[in-house]
Symmetry: C2
Subunit: 126 residues, 2 copies
DNA sequence: TTTGATGCAAACTTTTTGCAGCTAC
DNA sequence: GTAGCTGCAAAAAGTTTGCATCAAA
Protein backbone atom coordinates (compact mmCIF):
# COMPACT_ATOMS: atom_id res chain seq x y z
CA UNK A 1 0.00 0.00 0.00
CA UNK A 2 1.71 3.12 -1.22
CA UNK A 3 0.67 6.60 -0.19
CA UNK A 4 -0.89 7.01 -3.61
CA UNK A 5 -2.99 3.89 -3.40
CA UNK A 6 -4.09 4.74 0.10
CA UNK A 7 -5.17 8.20 -0.98
CA UNK A 8 -7.13 6.85 -3.93
CA UNK A 9 -8.79 4.25 -1.78
CA UNK A 10 -9.71 6.77 0.87
CA UNK A 11 -11.26 9.13 -1.66
CA UNK A 12 -13.50 6.41 -3.01
CA UNK A 13 -14.57 5.13 0.38
CA UNK A 14 -14.77 8.39 2.31
CA UNK A 15 -17.87 9.74 0.62
CA UNK A 16 -21.03 8.08 -0.60
CA UNK A 17 -20.58 9.54 -4.07
CA UNK A 18 -19.63 7.14 -6.78
CA UNK A 19 -16.94 9.02 -8.58
CA UNK A 20 -15.34 8.60 -11.93
CA UNK A 21 -11.61 8.07 -12.30
CA UNK A 22 -11.24 11.66 -13.45
CA UNK A 23 -13.01 13.02 -10.39
CA UNK A 24 -10.87 10.85 -8.17
CA UNK A 25 -7.80 12.10 -9.96
CA UNK A 26 -8.79 15.73 -9.46
CA UNK A 27 -9.57 15.26 -5.79
CA UNK A 28 -6.40 13.32 -5.18
CA UNK A 29 -4.28 15.97 -6.79
CA UNK A 30 -5.50 18.54 -4.32
CA UNK A 31 -3.58 16.57 -1.75
CA UNK A 32 -0.83 15.20 -3.95
CA UNK A 33 -0.28 17.41 -6.98
CA UNK A 34 2.39 15.19 -8.47
CA UNK A 35 0.02 12.23 -8.79
CA UNK A 36 -0.24 10.90 -12.32
CA UNK A 37 -3.47 9.98 -14.01
CA UNK A 38 -2.03 6.63 -14.98
CA UNK A 39 -1.39 5.86 -11.35
CA UNK A 40 -5.02 6.51 -10.53
CA UNK A 41 -6.21 4.11 -13.20
CA UNK A 42 -3.62 1.54 -12.26
CA UNK A 43 -4.53 1.60 -8.61
CA UNK A 44 -8.24 1.61 -9.18
CA UNK A 45 -7.70 -1.48 -11.29
CA UNK A 46 -5.63 -3.16 -8.61
CA UNK A 47 -8.12 -2.32 -5.89
CA UNK A 48 -10.94 -3.74 -7.97
CA UNK A 49 -8.92 -6.90 -8.65
CA UNK A 50 -8.25 -7.27 -4.95
CA UNK A 51 -11.94 -6.95 -4.25
CA UNK A 52 -11.66 -3.75 -2.25
CA UNK A 53 -13.50 -1.61 -4.76
CA UNK A 54 -16.21 -2.24 -7.27
CA UNK A 55 -16.31 -0.77 -10.72
CA UNK A 56 -19.67 0.41 -12.00
CA UNK A 57 -20.36 0.91 -15.67
CA UNK A 58 -23.23 3.12 -16.60
CA UNK A 59 -24.33 4.16 -20.05
CA UNK A 60 -22.75 7.27 -21.54
CA UNK A 61 -20.61 7.90 -18.53
CA UNK A 62 -17.12 6.81 -17.61
CA UNK A 63 -16.83 4.04 -15.02
CA UNK A 64 -17.53 4.91 -11.42
CA UNK A 65 -16.12 3.33 -8.30
CA UNK A 66 -17.83 2.13 -5.17
CA UNK A 67 -16.47 0.60 -1.99
CA UNK A 68 -16.96 -3.12 -2.05
CA UNK A 69 -19.42 -4.06 0.64
CA UNK A 70 -22.31 -6.43 0.74
CA UNK A 71 -23.66 -6.55 -2.83
CA UNK A 72 -26.33 -3.97 -3.40
CA UNK A 73 -28.16 -2.40 -6.30
CA UNK A 74 -27.61 1.10 -7.58
CA UNK A 75 -29.99 3.84 -8.47
CA UNK A 76 -28.78 5.71 -11.54
CA UNK A 77 -30.05 9.00 -12.91
CA UNK A 78 -30.51 8.66 -16.64
CA UNK A 79 -29.85 12.33 -17.14
CA UNK A 80 -26.81 13.26 -15.07
CA UNK A 81 -25.47 9.80 -14.37
CA UNK A 82 -25.29 10.21 -10.62
CA UNK A 83 -25.40 6.96 -8.70
CA UNK A 84 -26.83 6.15 -5.29
CA UNK A 85 -26.69 2.98 -3.26
CA UNK A 86 -29.77 0.97 -2.55
CA UNK A 87 -30.31 -1.89 -0.19
CA UNK A 88 -31.93 -4.94 -1.57
CA UNK A 89 -34.08 -7.48 0.14
CA UNK A 90 -31.76 -10.33 1.05
CA UNK A 91 -31.76 -13.36 -1.22
CA UNK A 92 -33.80 -11.94 -4.06
CA UNK A 93 -31.65 -13.27 -6.87
CA UNK A 94 -30.14 -16.44 -5.50
CA UNK A 95 -33.25 -18.59 -5.87
CA UNK A 96 -33.62 -17.41 -9.43
CA UNK A 97 -30.02 -18.33 -10.19
CA UNK A 98 -30.37 -21.71 -8.55
CA UNK A 99 -33.47 -22.40 -10.53
CA UNK A 100 -31.63 -21.59 -13.75
CA UNK A 101 -28.69 -23.77 -12.80
CA UNK A 102 -26.32 -20.82 -12.80
CA UNK A 103 -23.25 -20.78 -10.63
CA UNK A 104 -23.58 -17.13 -9.75
CA UNK A 105 -20.32 -15.25 -9.27
CA UNK A 106 -21.90 -11.85 -8.83
CA UNK A 107 -24.62 -9.59 -9.99
CA UNK A 108 -25.22 -6.04 -10.97
CA UNK A 109 -28.60 -4.41 -10.64
CA UNK A 110 -29.23 -0.86 -11.70
CA UNK A 111 -32.51 0.92 -11.38
CA UNK A 112 -32.91 3.96 -13.56
CA UNK A 113 -34.81 7.11 -12.81
CA UNK A 114 -34.52 10.84 -13.31
CA UNK A 115 -33.20 12.33 -10.12
CA UNK A 116 -35.10 15.21 -8.47
CA UNK A 117 -32.41 17.71 -9.43
CA UNK A 118 -32.65 16.79 -13.09
CA UNK A 119 -36.41 16.62 -13.04
CA UNK A 120 -36.45 20.17 -11.71
CA UNK A 121 -34.01 21.30 -14.36
CA UNK A 122 -35.88 19.70 -17.20
CA UNK A 123 -38.67 22.25 -17.28
CA UNK A 124 -36.50 25.20 -18.25
CA UNK A 125 -33.60 23.25 -19.62
CA UNK A 126 -35.05 20.95 -22.22
CA UNK B 1 -35.19 3.49 -42.85
CA UNK B 2 -32.23 3.34 -45.20
CA UNK B 3 -30.80 0.09 -46.49
CA UNK B 4 -27.92 0.56 -44.10
CA UNK B 5 -30.08 1.00 -41.06
CA UNK B 6 -32.24 -1.93 -42.03
CA UNK B 7 -29.19 -4.15 -42.41
CA UNK B 8 -27.79 -3.12 -39.05
CA UNK B 9 -31.11 -3.68 -37.37
CA UNK B 10 -31.55 -7.08 -38.95
CA UNK B 11 -28.11 -8.22 -37.87
CA UNK B 12 -28.79 -7.33 -34.27
CA UNK B 13 -32.20 -8.93 -34.19
CA UNK B 14 -31.64 -11.95 -36.40
CA UNK B 15 -29.48 -13.88 -33.96
CA UNK B 16 -29.63 -14.28 -30.21
CA UNK B 17 -26.04 -13.17 -29.86
CA UNK B 18 -25.48 -9.79 -28.33
CA UNK B 19 -22.90 -8.35 -30.61
CA UNK B 20 -20.57 -5.42 -30.29
CA UNK B 21 -20.60 -2.55 -32.78
CA UNK B 22 -17.42 -3.89 -34.32
CA UNK B 23 -18.92 -7.34 -34.84
CA UNK B 24 -21.99 -5.80 -36.37
CA UNK B 25 -19.79 -3.71 -38.62
CA UNK B 26 -17.87 -6.76 -39.80
CA UNK B 27 -21.01 -8.77 -40.46
CA UNK B 28 -22.71 -5.91 -42.23
CA UNK B 29 -19.76 -5.35 -44.51
CA UNK B 30 -20.03 -8.88 -45.79
CA UNK B 31 -23.26 -7.75 -47.39
CA UNK B 32 -22.41 -4.12 -47.97
CA UNK B 33 -18.67 -3.60 -48.22
CA UNK B 34 -18.93 0.15 -48.61
CA UNK B 35 -20.59 0.58 -45.22
CA UNK B 36 -18.73 2.95 -42.94
CA UNK B 37 -18.01 2.29 -39.32
CA UNK B 38 -19.41 5.68 -38.39
CA UNK B 39 -22.70 4.75 -40.00
CA UNK B 40 -22.92 1.68 -37.82
CA UNK B 41 -22.40 3.65 -34.65
CA UNK B 42 -24.76 6.38 -35.80
CA UNK B 43 -27.53 3.97 -36.61
CA UNK B 44 -27.10 1.90 -33.51
CA UNK B 45 -27.43 5.13 -31.56
CA UNK B 46 -30.57 6.11 -33.44
CA UNK B 47 -32.14 2.69 -33.02
CA UNK B 48 -31.44 2.79 -29.30
CA UNK B 49 -32.93 6.29 -29.07
CA UNK B 50 -36.01 5.12 -30.89
CA UNK B 51 -36.36 2.25 -28.47
CA UNK B 52 -35.85 -0.46 -31.06
CA UNK B 53 -32.56 -1.68 -29.65
CA UNK B 54 -31.04 -1.77 -26.24
CA UNK B 55 -27.45 -1.01 -25.48
CA UNK B 56 -25.73 -3.21 -22.91
CA UNK B 57 -22.61 -2.11 -21.15
CA UNK B 58 -20.50 -4.79 -19.59
CA UNK B 59 -17.16 -4.40 -17.86
CA UNK B 60 -14.02 -4.53 -20.00
CA UNK B 61 -15.95 -5.06 -23.16
CA UNK B 62 -17.34 -2.66 -25.73
CA UNK B 63 -21.09 -2.09 -25.66
CA UNK B 64 -23.30 -4.82 -27.00
CA UNK B 65 -26.71 -4.53 -28.60
CA UNK B 66 -29.88 -6.45 -27.94
CA UNK B 67 -33.29 -6.24 -29.55
CA UNK B 68 -35.62 -4.30 -27.34
CA UNK B 69 -38.30 -6.59 -26.07
CA UNK B 70 -39.93 -7.02 -22.72
CA UNK B 71 -37.25 -6.04 -20.16
CA UNK B 72 -35.18 -9.00 -19.11
CA UNK B 73 -31.95 -9.68 -17.27
CA UNK B 74 -28.73 -10.80 -18.88
CA UNK B 75 -26.31 -13.51 -18.00
CA UNK B 76 -22.76 -12.37 -18.60
CA UNK B 77 -19.62 -14.46 -18.64
CA UNK B 78 -16.96 -12.73 -16.59
CA UNK B 79 -14.24 -14.25 -18.67
CA UNK B 80 -15.22 -13.89 -22.32
CA UNK B 81 -17.97 -11.31 -21.96
CA UNK B 82 -20.57 -13.29 -23.85
CA UNK B 83 -24.13 -12.36 -22.98
CA UNK B 84 -27.28 -14.45 -22.87
CA UNK B 85 -30.86 -13.47 -22.26
CA UNK B 86 -32.70 -14.56 -19.19
CA UNK B 87 -36.34 -14.34 -18.33
CA UNK B 88 -37.23 -12.87 -15.03
CA UNK B 89 -40.20 -13.55 -12.84
CA UNK B 90 -42.68 -10.80 -13.63
CA UNK B 91 -42.85 -7.90 -11.21
CA UNK B 92 -39.79 -8.67 -9.17
CA UNK B 93 -38.46 -5.16 -9.02
CA UNK B 94 -41.49 -2.94 -9.21
CA UNK B 95 -42.61 -3.46 -5.61
CA UNK B 96 -39.12 -2.66 -4.45
CA UNK B 97 -39.10 0.56 -6.45
CA UNK B 98 -42.51 1.56 -5.22
CA UNK B 99 -41.45 0.96 -1.67
CA UNK B 100 -38.44 3.21 -2.17
CA UNK B 101 -40.53 5.92 -3.75
CA UNK B 102 -38.65 5.67 -7.03
CA UNK B 103 -40.27 6.56 -10.29
CA UNK B 104 -38.62 3.74 -12.18
CA UNK B 105 -37.78 4.46 -15.81
CA UNK B 106 -36.00 1.20 -16.44
CA UNK B 107 -33.65 -1.31 -14.98
CA UNK B 108 -30.65 -3.34 -15.85
CA UNK B 109 -29.90 -6.63 -14.19
CA UNK B 110 -26.83 -8.65 -14.98
CA UNK B 111 -25.96 -11.95 -13.44
CA UNK B 112 -22.34 -12.94 -13.73
CA UNK B 113 -20.92 -16.39 -14.09
CA UNK B 114 -18.16 -18.20 -15.90
CA UNK B 115 -19.65 -19.83 -18.96
CA UNK B 116 -19.10 -23.56 -19.55
CA UNK B 117 -16.71 -22.90 -22.44
CA UNK B 118 -14.51 -20.68 -20.30
CA UNK B 119 -14.70 -22.99 -17.32
CA UNK B 120 -13.40 -25.78 -19.52
CA UNK B 121 -10.63 -23.59 -20.80
CA UNK B 122 -9.56 -22.43 -17.40
CA UNK B 123 -7.89 -25.67 -16.42
CA UNK B 124 -5.20 -25.61 -19.06
CA UNK B 125 -5.34 -21.88 -19.76
CA UNK B 126 -4.90 -20.17 -16.43
C1' DT C 1 -35.29 20.81 -54.11
C1' DT C 2 -34.89 19.89 -49.72
C1' DT C 3 -34.17 16.76 -46.00
C1' DG C 4 -31.67 13.62 -44.04
C1' DA C 5 -28.27 9.85 -44.39
C1' DT C 6 -23.87 8.30 -46.09
C1' DG C 7 -18.62 7.54 -46.41
C1' DC C 8 -14.52 9.19 -44.98
C1' DA C 9 -11.36 10.90 -41.91
C1' DA C 10 -10.19 13.29 -38.09
C1' DA C 11 -11.06 14.16 -33.32
C1' DC C 12 -12.38 13.06 -28.76
C1' DT C 13 -12.80 10.48 -24.41
C1' DT C 14 -11.56 7.00 -21.53
C1' DT C 15 -8.31 3.75 -20.37
C1' DT C 16 -3.99 1.13 -20.86
C1' DT C 17 0.89 0.60 -21.35
C1' DG C 18 6.18 1.08 -21.94
C1' DC C 19 9.82 2.83 -19.80
C1' DA C 20 13.23 5.02 -16.96
C1' DG C 21 13.75 6.45 -12.43
C1' DC C 22 12.41 6.31 -7.56
C1' DT C 23 11.14 4.04 -2.85
C1' DA C 24 10.92 1.04 0.72
C1' DC C 25 11.96 -2.98 2.55
C1' DG D 1 19.85 -4.78 -4.24
C1' DT D 2 15.46 -5.83 -5.91
C1' DA D 3 10.63 -5.93 -6.28
C1' DG D 4 7.19 -3.21 -7.09
C1' DC D 5 5.43 1.31 -7.82
C1' DT D 6 5.60 5.97 -9.72
C1' DG D 7 5.34 9.92 -13.24
C1' DC D 8 5.35 10.83 -17.80
C1' DA D 9 4.06 10.45 -22.29
C1' DA D 10 2.53 7.93 -25.94
C1' DA D 11 -0.75 4.75 -27.66
C1' DA D 12 -4.74 1.94 -27.73
C1' DA D 13 -9.68 1.20 -27.83
C1' DG D 14 -14.17 2.65 -28.44
C1' DT D 15 -17.02 6.10 -30.02
C1' DT D 16 -18.43 10.58 -31.88
C1' DT D 17 -18.42 14.26 -35.18
C1' DG D 18 -17.62 17.64 -39.28
C1' DC D 19 -18.10 17.85 -43.83
C1' DA D 20 -18.83 17.27 -48.62
C1' DT D 21 -21.49 14.22 -51.28
C1' DC D 22 -25.34 11.28 -52.35
C1' DA D 23 -30.16 9.33 -52.36
C1' DA D 24 -34.81 9.60 -52.05
C1' DA D 25 -39.44 11.75 -51.31
Amino acid sequence: MTRQRELIYSIVTAAPEHRTAEEIYDLAREQMPSLARGTVYRNLGILVEEGQLRRLETPHSPARYDRESRPHPHLVCQQCGRVEDLTMPEGLLEPMARQLGIDLTGYDLKLYHICPACRGMKKEDL
